[in-house]
C-alpha cells in the first residue's frame, strides 16, 4: 500500500521554487542547515554561552550547561573561532561582556565588630539648585518601581539630581559572577560621588549558592550561620563602600511576599541588613517595608485600600514585585529619610 506522501507526489507535482524564484529545499536540508548553523554559532559564541551557563541559578541545569560550554569554549579558543566575537564586542565597546568577575572586596570593618558611631548627629547639609544632592539608586529588579517613583517625586525639587536608576534584573549580593555589585558600586562612588545612595538587594539572594567566597571558607545552606556570616560581610562591605566618603545610604528592606516561605527567607536577610545599618547611625538608614504591604490580617495583600477607600493594586502578579502605588509609598518614605539627613527645601525660601 502506498504511503500518503507517495500518493501526494503522484497527484500533484509541486513547483521547486517559491515566490521571488527562491529554491525550495528538502526537510533533510532544513535539518542539516539548522544543526550545522547552530553548531557553528555555538562555537562562535562559546565565550558568551559559557558566561550565560556560569551565571545561571544553581542546579543540575547549570552543572550540565557548564559541562557542555566549558569544553566548547576551549575548543572555540583553540580554533580561533572566538576571535570574531571578541572583535565585535570590542567594536561595540563591550570588551568585558564575557568576563566573569567574582571578587568581593574585603570590608574595612571586621564582621561583627561595632562600628564607631559619630559622637554627634551629622550636620544637616544644605543643598540648592546650584549645589545639588546627587542621588544614586541601585539594586535588583525590586528597586526599579520605587526608584521610578523617587525620580518622579524629586522631579520638582531642583536641589536634587538623581542619576538614572541602576536596577539590574536577577542580580544580588550572593552572585557577583552574575553582576559584581561590589566593584560596580565602588566605581560609581569613585566616579560620580553621589552624596545619597538608595539601595535594595536580596530579592535574588534567598538561595544556597554563593560565588566569590574567599578561598578556604565554606558557606553552608541559606540561613546557616556560615551563610549569614558571609552575607553579613557582603552587606557590610557595600555599606562601608557607600559611606566611606560621607555619603548617606538608605537601604530599602525586602517586602512581605505572597509565598510565606519566601517571606521567611526575606526576613533572614532583612535582619542582617537592619543590624548592620544599626551599627552605622547617621550613615545608614534601614527602611522596613514589611508592614506597608500587609493586609488587614497581617499577611500578604496584593490590593490595599488607600485613604479614600479606593482599592489599589500594590503588588505585581508575581507576588513579589511592586506596582506603581507601592513604589510611590516607598519613595515618600525614602524622601523623608533624605530630608531628615539633608536640607533640601530651605533654598526655596531664599
Amino acid at each position: 500500500m502506498d504511503s500518503p506522501i507517495r500518493e501526494q507526489r503522484r497527484r500533484r507535482p509541486r513547483p521547486r521554487t517559491g515566490e521571488g524564484g527562491r529554491r525550495l529545499h528538502s526537510a533533510g536540508s532544513a535539518i542539516v542547515v539548522s544543526l550545522a548553523g547552530l553548531a557553528l554559532a555555538v562555537l562562535l559564541n562559546a565565550p558568551g554561552l559559557h558566561k550565560s551557563a556560569t551565571i545561571q541559578p544553581e542546579g543540575w541545569k547549570r552543572d550540565v550547561a557548564l559541562d557542555v560550554t566549558g569544553p566548547l569554549e576551549s575548543l572555540s579558543g583553540a580554533l580561533l573561532l572566538d576571535r570574531p566575537r571578541h572583535a565585535l564586542k570590542s567594536a561595540l565597546g563591550r570588551s568585558h561582556d564575557d568576563d566573569v568577575d567574582t571578587a568581593v572586596a574585603t570590608t574595612t570593618t571586621p564582621v561583627g565588630a561595632p562600628v564607631s558611631a559619630p559622637a554627634t548627629p551629622p550636620e544637616r547639609t544644605r543643598f540648592t539648585p546650584k549645589r545639588k544632592l546627587g542621588v544614586y539608586i541601585a539594586g535588583d529588579s525590586l528597586v526599579v518601581v520605587p526608584g521610578e517613583s523617587l525620580l518622579r517625586a524629586t522631579a520638582g525639587n531642583r536641589a536634587i539630581a538623581p542619576e538614572p536608576i541602576d536596577g539590574r534584573i536577577a542580580t544580588g549580593l550572593e552572585r557577583p559572577d552574575v553582576f559584581n555589585w561590589f566593584t560596580h558600586i565602588e566605581d560609581v562612588m569613585r566616579k560620580d560621588k553621589p552624596r545619597a545612595v538608595v539601595l535594595m538587594f536580596g530579592g535574588n539572594d534567598d538561595h544556597n549558592f554563593m560565588t566569590g567566597v574567599p578561598e578556604g571558607r565554606q558557606v553552608g545552606t541559606f540561613g546557616s550561620p556560615s551563610w549569614r556570616a558571609e552575607y553579613r560581610r557582603r552587606v557590610a562591605t557595600v555599606m562601608e563602600t557607600v559611606t566611606r566618603n560621607g555619603a548617606y545610604l538608605v537601604w530599602i528592606g525586602l517586602p512581605i511576599s505572597r509565598d510565606s516561605e519566601q517571606t521567611k527567607r526575606f526576613d533572614v536577610m532583612n535582619t542582617i541588613v537592619q543590624s548592620e545599618a544599626a551599627k552605622r547611625p547617621g550613615r545608614v538608614s534601614y527602611l522596613d517595608t514589611y508592614f506597608f504591604f500587609a493586609g488587614g490580617d497581617g499577611g500578604y495583600a496584593q490590593y490595599v485600600e488607600d485613604s479614600a477607600g479606593k482599592l489599589v493594586k500594590m503588588r505585581a502578579d508575581d507576588g513579589v514585585h511592586f506596582e506603581r502605588p507601592a513604589g510611590d509609598l516607598i519613595a515618600a518614605k525614602v524622601l523623608e529619610r533624605l530630608e531628615d539627613r539633608y536640607d533640601l527645601t530651605s533654598w526655596r525660601r531664599g
Binding site: G37, L38, K51, L151, R324
Partner: protein, 472 residues
C-alpha cells in the same frame, strides 16, 4: 520557554528531525507534536497545561455537538455554552481582579464600601490567543464553514507550539487542513524560514531590547525627569520597540512553523507605512484584526445597519480589542482612540462631497506622517501604567524643551531609524535576499546562519526580556 534561548534551541533541534521522521504517519506525528507543545507550554508552569487541556476538550466536544445537532435551537445553545466557557475562563483569569477593583472603586466614589475580594490570579501565558482560536473553531463549525476533525488534529491545532503563546491567531481553515495531511518533505521553504527567524531575532534581541533599556523604560517610568525631546523620542522608540518585539516574535513563529512544513498567515505588513488608521489595522497584528472583524464586528452587524450602527460597531470592536490587550482602562482608551479615528475616517469618506484624490508622493507622505502621530499618541496610553502617567508624559512633551537630553543617543536614533526604515524597504529586496540564500550550497547556508546568530548574540544584551505580547 522563550524562542531566543538555548533551551528552546535544544528543544527545537530535537523536535525538528523527529517531526519530519514521524510526519508520514499522522497517527504517530499528532501525539508527538501535542506532547512537544505541552512540554513547551509546561516550561512556564505545568499547571497552565490543565487550562490548555480544558480548552481543547471543551471546544472539541462542543464543536462536535454543534456539528451533529440538526436542531437550530440546540446548536445555538451549544454555541452559547462554548462561548460562555471560553470567555468565562478568559474573564476569570484575565479580568476578575480588574472588574472587582473597578466595581469597588465605583462604589467608593459615592461613599459606599462594598466588600469584594480580589484573588491575585496569575495570568496563564497565551490564554488570550488559544481562547480566540478555540472560539474561531466552534463559530466556524456553527456557521458550517468548517466540519469538525478528529480529536488529535484539533488538539494539535490548538496547542501547536509555534503559535501557542503569542500567535499569530491562525484560523481553523488555514491550519487544520495542513495538520490533516502529511507535509511534503521534498519542498520546504527553508530560505524564507531562516530569513524570518533571523530578522525576528534581530528585531527582538537587538532593536526592541536596546530601545527598552536605553530610553523607553526610563521615559515612561519617570516622564517628569526627562526633557521634551527625550519624551518625544521615547514615544517614537516605544512605537518601534513594540513593533520590533511583536513582529520579531511573529517572524520567529512563522519561520519555525515553516521549517516544520506549515504555513502561517502573515501578521504584519509594514504598519508604520500606513496612510490611515484603517490602513494601519490592515497591516498591524493582521490575524487579530481579521478575528475581530469576523467574530465580533460582523456579528455585531458590521456595516449593514447604516452609518450610525457602523460607527457604533467599529467603536465597540476597538474598545473590546483594547480590553483584550490588558485588564486596564488605559487599554480601553487606547482602543477608543483607534475606534474614534476609524469612525472619523469612515465619516470623512462617507460625506457626499468626498472625492478620492490621486495619491501624490507629498500627499502620501503627509498621510503617513499624520497616521504615525495618531498611532504613537495612542501608544502612550497603551504603555503608561495609569492615566496620571499618560497625562504627565503628554504634559512633559510640551513643557521641557531645551533641557539636556542624554537619553537621545545615536544608538537610540539608529535603532528607531532601523525599525521605521525597514518598513519602507522595497518588497523585492527581502525576496532577492531569500532567493540568493536559497541558491547557496548547504555549508554556505549554515555559515551565513551562524554568522547571523553571532552578530545578534554579540549585539544583544545579556539575557532576554520576555516578549511584550506574552502578557496579553
Amino acid at each position: 520557554m522563550l524562542f531566543p534561548t538555548a533551551t528552546f534551541a535544544i528543544f527545537f533541534m530535537l523536535v525538528l528531525p523527529l517531526s519530519w521522521l514521524l510526519q508520514p504517519r499522522g497517527e504517530r506525528w499528532r501525539p508527538f507534536i501535542i506532547a512537544a507543545s505541552f512540554v513547551f507550554y509546561a516550561a512556564w508552569d505545568w499547571k497552565f497545561c490543565l487550562l490548555l487541556a480544558f480548552s481543547i476538550v471543551w471546544n472539541y466536544a462542543l464543536g462536535l455537538g454543534i456539528h451533529r445537532s440538526g436542531d437550530p435551537r440546540h446548536r445555538h445553545v451549544l454555541l452559547v455554552l462554548a462561548l460562555v466557557g471560553n470567555l468565562g475562563v478568559l474573564g476569570y483569569f484575565k479580568y476578575y481582579d480588574f472588574f472587582v477593583t473597578s466595581t469597588h472603586n465605583l462604589f467608593a466614589l459615592v461613599g459606599l464600601d462594598v466588600p469584594l475580594d480580589t484573588r491575585s490570579i496569575v495570568l496563564p501565558v497565551g490564554i488570550s490567543f488559544f481562547t480566540f482560536m478555540g472560539i474561531a473553531y466552534v463559530v466556524d463549525v456553527y456557521r458550517r464553514d468548517f466540519a469538525p476533525v478528529g480529536f488529535g488534529t484539533f488538539a494539535a491545532y490548538l496547542s501547536f507550539f509555534p503559535h501557542l503563546v503569542a500567535g499569530p491567531i491562525v484560523r481553523p481553515g488555514e491550519l487544520i487542513p495542513q495538520l490533516s495531511t502529511p507535509r511534503d518533505p521534498r519542498y520546504v521553504d527553508t530560505s524564507r524560514a531562516f530569513f524570518l527567524i533571523g530578522t525576528g531575532l534581530f528585531m527582538k534581541v537587538v532593536i526592541a531590547n536596546h530601545l527598552a533599556a536605553h530610553i523607553v523604560d526610563q521615559v515612561f517610568g519617570a516622564p517628569n525627569q526627562h526633557s521634551s525631546l527625550e519624551v518625544l523620542v521615547g514615544i517614537y522608540a516605544y512605537a518601534v520597540q513594540i513593533y520590533a518585539d511583536f513582529f520579531g516574535y511573529t517572524n520567529i513563529a512563522i519561520g519555525i512553523a515553516l521549517l516544520l512544513g506549515f504555513a502561517f498567515p502573515q501578521n504584519f505588513d509594514a504598519p508604520y507605512s500606513a496612510t490611515s488608521i484603517t490602513d494601519f489595522w490592515r497591516r498591524w497584528h493582521m490575524t487579530l484584526s481579521r478575528w475581530l472583524r469576523d467574530y465580533l464586528y460582523i456579528p455585531l452587524g458590521g456595516n449593514r445597519g447604516g452609518s450610525l450602527a457602523t460607527y457604533r460597531n467599529l467603536m465597540l470592536t476597538m474598545l473590546i480589542g483594547g480590553l483584550w490587550h490588558g485588564a486596564g482602562w488605559t487599554f480601553v482608551v487606547w482602543g477608543g482612540i483607534h475606534g474614534t479615528a476609524l469612525v472619523a475616517e469612515r465619516w470623512w469618506r462617507g460625506r457626499p462631497s468626498f472625492v478620492e484624490r490621486p495619491w501624490t508622493p507629498g500627499r502620501r507622505a503627509w498621510h503617513r506622517f499624520v497616521t504615525f502621530q495618531v498611532v504613537c499618541f495612542a501608544w502612550v496610553f497603551f504603555r503608561a501604567d495609569s492615566f496620571a502617567d499618560a497625562r504627565s508624559l503628554i504634559e512633559r512633551l510640551f513643557t521641557a524643551w531645551g533641557e539636556p537630553s542624554p537619553l537621545v543617543t545615536w544608538g537610540v536614533l539608529a535603532a528607531i531609524a532601523v525599525g521605521i526604515g525597514s518598513q519602507y524597504l522595497p518588497r523585492r529586496l527581502p525576496l532577492a535576499i531569500m532567493a540568493r540564500f536559497s541558491r547557496l550550497p548547504v555549508p554556505a547556508q549554515a555559515t551565513v546562519l551562524a554568522l547571523g546568530l553571532l552578530v545578534i548574540h554579540a549585539m544583544g544584551p545579556e539575557g532576554v526580556a520576555p516578549f511584550i505580547y506574552f502578557r496579553f
